[in-house]
């Protein structure tokens, strides 16, 4: 019997992350039984910091491997005989980004978990497991690993959402997310089953060859797959869970899942749509058009009336899903490239915004009410300035990542003749400016209230916010490299990664 010719380097990032998860789990068990660790008394917060450091190390390795592969740029399947898992420019870039986002949110969690007295080591293991699932999902070129990855990603996040187990809303959030997430997975699986019925195989290539949109079975299958994904990316009308889950989950978890889940789900959707259904793109366009328009309108208008900052950011993330979907409507390479670039920008601006919320959490309580931002410019001028930057970026004001991302999306939509959709997009952006500006208004133009925010910032938290702020400005002003950052051609990366998809 021949040994299969496997490319183990392809699963490098995935292996690092999974290994990290196991090391963290073991480390938790061993450390919590020890009395001292290198002469220091073992406390929960020491264990937490050590495990966080460990997971950051493994995530950094995974990030490095993935991004190095993205720069190299050849598409290698894990098992050339049965290509199910491919690391090409696209999946490597997205995997690297997921790992980086997870790394940043781990660094963001250390102090926060201590503050909430829930600093348990499983936290980091769960993060790593779900990152492994996400990577599997974005590297898959077959429906089965997509589903596998989706589940591996989701289940740890259900647990993470309820991680603050003494808090009622956290439990509610976990249960709600679990129930709705299971529905979504089931619906996706139905879709996959129907497509299997049409094509006789589950690989994207086989589906693309067999599925034509005149076949009702294929239409139903495609519809169910899109609905399944629409749950995960929280597109209207499948968005209902998002605000509740984002609000109930601990802020650090919300920060983590709001960016990474979106990254993974959008990347997988992009692959599914571009590789399995691209020839029949026109029929798809209408569905995506409606989803995008609805998501932008509902997300932005609902965000206006929110009084809780996490709920507001939840609706804002729904709205951003609408803008991202707009990039899918043209079905062109430019559109997909714009989506990838938007995702990159979104990671940093959203993580930054949630990061500020995390940093403000005080004495075991989240700083959730939007009014607790009042007068922040007086008490925490640095944080207020950063929050303003992230809000301005989310609103899409020039000079920030949010604008450059929207520019790319709108440009691709206009080039494909989707001007009415672009007009809906810009008009809802005006609405978004209103609610994003509320935060700076409170911070700069009102007197401080009774809600005292935390007064000190941990060094890891500071680093995360600094990285996000730098990225937001960098991506907004010189996304293709300048001066000492001449090598960071982020716009080109986005474009090339998508080009690779169509070449393979």
């Amino acid at each position: 019997m021949n040994t299969p010719d496997l490319n183990f380097s392809v699963v490098g990032p995935l292996v690092w992350v999974s290994l990290g998860a196991m090391v963290v789990l073991l480390g938790e068990v061993l450390l919590s039984r020890a009395k001292t660790f290198f002469g220091r008394t073992v406390t929960t917060s020491l264990v937490g910091s050590l495990l966080a450091g460990t997971s950051i190390f493994f995530l950094a390795m995974a990030t490095y491997m993935a991004l190095a592969h993205a720069a190299m740029g050849n598409a290698t399947p894990f098992d050339p005989a049965h290509p199910m898992f491919v690391l090409d420019r696209f999946s490597a870039l997205i995997s690297g980004l997921i790992a980086l986002a997870a790394l940043l949110s781990c660094a963001l969690s250390i102090q926060y978990l201590d503050e909430l007295r829930i600093n348990h080591g499983e936290y980091y293991a769960l993060v790593l497991f779900s990152v492994a699932g996400m990577m599997l999902m974005v590297c898959a070129v077959d429906m089965l690993p997509v589903f596998l990855g989706l589940e591996l990603m989701s289940i740890p996040i259900y647990v993470l959402a309820g991680f603050d187990r003494k808090k009622l809303s956290s439990n509610e959030s976990a249960l709600k997310y679990f129930l709705i997430g299971s529905f979504a997975s089931a619906i996706l699986l139905y879709g996959v089953a129907l497509l299997y019925g049409v094509a006789g195989a589950t690989s994207f290539a086989a589906i693309r060859a067999a599925a034509s949109l005149t076949n009702p079975l294929a239409v139903a299958g495609l519809g169910l797959v899109i609905v399944g994904f629409a749950f995960k990316i929280s597109s209207v009308p499948f968005h209902q869970w998002t605000p509740d889950v984002y609000e109930g989950a601990p802020s650090a978890v919300t920060a983590f899942m709001s960016v990474t889940v979106k990254l993974a789900a959008f990347a997988a959707l992009l692959r599914v749509l571009a590789l399995s259904f691209e020839p029949q793109g026109e029929a798809l366009q209408n569905v995506l058009w409606v989803l995008s328009a609805l998501t932008m309108v509902v997300g932005n208008f609902m965000a206006v009336i929110q009084q809780n900052i996490k709920r507001m950011l939840a609706y804002s993330s729904i709205a951003h899903a609408g803008y991202l979907l707009m990039g899918f409507v043209p079905g062109t390479q430019a559109g997909y490239a714009a989506v990838v670039f938007y995702l990159i920008c979104y990671v940093f601006m959203n993580l930054g915004a949630f990061g500020v919320v995390v940093v403000l959490a005080n004495r075991g309580r989240d700083c959730e009410n939007i009014d607790s931002f009042a007068g922040l410019a007086r008490t925490r001028p640095g944080l207020a300035a950063l929050m303003t930057l992230f809000m301005i970026s989310l609103a899409g004001i020039p000079g920030t990542a949010g604008f450059m991302a929207k520019w790319q999306i709108f440009a691709s939509a206009v080039a494909a003749g989707q001007v009415p959709l672009a007009i809906i997009g810009v008009l809802t952006s005006v609405v978004s400016v209103y609610y994003y500006l509320r935060v700076p208004v409170l911070m700069y133009m009102r007197e401080p209230g009774e809600d005292a925010p935390r007064m000190e910032i941990g060094s890891s938290e500071f680093l995360v916010l600094a990285v996000c702020a730098f990225a937001v400005l960098y991506l907004g002003i010189v996304p293709n490299g300048w001066w000492v950052f001449d090598g960071l051609h982020v716009l080109d990366w986005a474009r090339d990664s998508v080009r690779g998809l169509f070449a393979s």
Binding site: I392, W407, F410, I423, M445
Partner: protein, 545 residues
């Protein structure tokens, strides 16, 4: 310093100094020391704006009025694959506006020396940021860069109104921001459509407005934008999107409602900059982008614009007349004055457009000065109600004299700047649309009525309010500020040729573009165009008021 980097220097010096100040403060605080004291910020801010003005004077002296086209051009790649270049340059029109901006910023800072007591550091930073934003918008020749600066300057202005403004400041700041955003985002879509049409026609991805120095693209201005076809590709709708963005900024009735709120609530330097420079962004946008890009549509839309401009003149004046608050009165007078500017522009002849550019500068000077004067009075009495004053000329003779000169300038007294601009505009309008000019002239009369009436009620008569008896006249700093404002008011009134000489070649160039473009598009079938007659009068080069 090489002359070729002069524009970059002028544009970015304020922001660079602002960031340097922030960084120094942050480092000092990180080392455990106090941040830089407010006085250092104030002084550095003032010196920076003065230096910027000094550098911009070199633009003035180095500008060659005989040369047509853009000067001081700098062109380097920014995101070349996406058609985005750092492309700056100025012609006569932007030259005078750049100078207006750099001239007013030190004055605004000097005028707010004692006025702004709270968070001085942020205030200075936002003012410097704002200056870079405004200058960037005036010098950008790449539409993307223009758009970036155009929206970027909203942010500092928003904070200036929202933090240091009056009681309803938050409402005014948000309204200002949202109004501008609605227009500019629709313009963004229109920009993308033009970008796409340009790419379709030439195969070049470029957002440069005009052909770059190295060649390689015709610039967006060379795009033949259809007048019929798919609705969103037609000049008619694209012009409408651009015009909406600019008309909000001008502001034209009925999109002006943000202006009284913003002006009244803003602190004095905010009002000065808002009136003197930010409003000019709108009229400048028409001249630089909307007219040359969509000439046929501009002519098609002319009746609407003229009607709105007339309504603005008459309605603005009438509303100004009944205001009890001096600042609000000046704000509504801006609506009327900008109506004149729009009128001259859509006369489509050299007199009209030159006058309109000149009037932009004039309005900046006289309304800026008026806001400064109102601010000085407010600082002393903490009220701006006309009814609270009377006989102010007795305790404050110097103040009254300054106020008098500026009032005369604002209503267009000969020998002062306002006269030249309004005169040229009315001549130009009369040549093109006689009846419109007749109606517009009533605006001049109304302006005299509301300004002089206000002046009389505030300055003359008995001092019947005891609090006004003890008013202190202008101190040295305030006198210097007012002298600095009045000198150019008189200078332009006596010798407008200095400005007109630089403005006119650019205006003629613009008119040629409009004429050529609309002729191409309409093929002579547009009745309005035929009605206009020859766009260039025989004596185009030598207009003398």
């Amino acid at each position: 310093m090489e002359a070729t980097h002069l524009l970059t220097l002028v544009t970015f010096l304020p922001l660079a100094v602002g960031l340097a100040l922030l960084a120094t403060s942050a480092v000092a605080r990180a080392l455990g020391a106090e941040g830089l004291p407010a006085s250092v910020w104030r002084l550095t801010g003032l010196l920076t704006t003065v230096a910027t003005f000094a550098f911009s004077l070199r633009l003035w002296t180095g500008f060659d009025p005989t040369e047509i086209g853009y000067q001081f051009i700098e062109y380097r790649p920014w995101l070349p694959d996406y058609g985005i270049h750092y492309f700056v340059g100025i012609d006569g029109i932007s030259l005078v506006l750049v100078l207006l901006t750099t001239f007013l910023m030190p004055i605004a800072l000097a005028a707010s020396w004692t006025d702004i007591g709270r968070s001085v550091r942020s205030y200075i930073f936002f003012m410097l940021f704002l200056e870079t934003g405004m200058l960037g918008a005036f010098v950008s020749l790449n539409v993307f860069a223009f758009y970036v600066f155009w929206e970027l300057m909203l942010v500092p202005m928003y904070f200036i109104i929202g933090i240091w403004g009056g009681p309803r400041r938050v409402y005014a700041a948000v309204k200002f921001f949202l109004f501008t955003m609605v227009g500019s985002l629709l313009m963004l879509v229109a920009i993308l459509v033009v970008f796409y049409l340009h790419y379709q026609q030439t195969g070049v991805l470029s957002l440069d407005l005009v052909a770059p120095p190295g060649g390689g693209s015709t610039g967006l201005i060379g795009t033949a934008i259809p007048t019929t076809g798919i609705w969103w590709q037609t000049q008619y709708w694209l012009f409408a999107a651009f015009a909406l963005a600019f008309a909000i900024k001008v502001p034209m009735v009925p999109l002006h409602t943000w202006l009284p709120d913003a002006h009244v609530e803003a602190p004095t330097p905010g009002s000065v900059v808002l009136a003197a420079v930010l409003l000019k962004m709108g009229t400048y946008g028409f001249l630089r982008f909307a007219l040359p890009l969509f000439p046929a549509a501009a002519i098609e839309w002319t009746p609407v614009i003229l009607a709105l401009a007339l309504v603005g003149i008459v309605y603005g004046s009438l509303v100004a007349m009944v205001q009890a608050d001096i600042k609000k009165l000046v704000a509504y007078s801006s609506v009327a004055h900008l109506g004149f500017v729009m009128l001259g522009m859509f006369a489509f002849n050299v007199h009209g457009i030159s006058g309109s550019v000149l009037q932009m500068v004039n309005h900046g000077l006289s309304t800026g000065a008026l806001f400064l004067l109102v601010g000085m009075l407010y600082e002393r009495r903490h009220t701006r109600m006309i009814g609270d004053f009377g006989g102010v000329a007795r305790p404050m003779p110097v103040y009254a004299a300054c106020f008098g000169i500026v009032t005369m300038s604002s209503i267009g007294l000969p020998m002062l700047n306002g006269f030249v601009g309004e005169f040229l505009i009315l001549i130009g309008t009369f040549l093109a649309w006689p009846i419109v000019a007749v109606v517009a002239t009533s605006g001049v009369v109304l302006a005299a009525a509301y300004m002089l009436w206000m002046f009389r009620r505030v300055m003359f008569g008995p001092v019947d309010n005891e609090e006004n008896r003890g008013l202190i006249d202008l101190d040295l700093r305030e006198k210097l500020v007012m002298v600095a404002m009045i000198v150019p008011i008189i200078w332009i009134g006596l010798y407008p040729e200095a400005l007109l000489r630089r403005i006119e070649p650019s205006v003629i160039d613009l008119l040629e573009k409009v004429e050529r473009g609309s002729a191409d598009a309409a093929q002579g079938r547009d009745p309005l165009l035929a009605q206009l007659g020859p766009v260039l009068p025989a004596d185009a080069g030598e207009v003398q008021p």
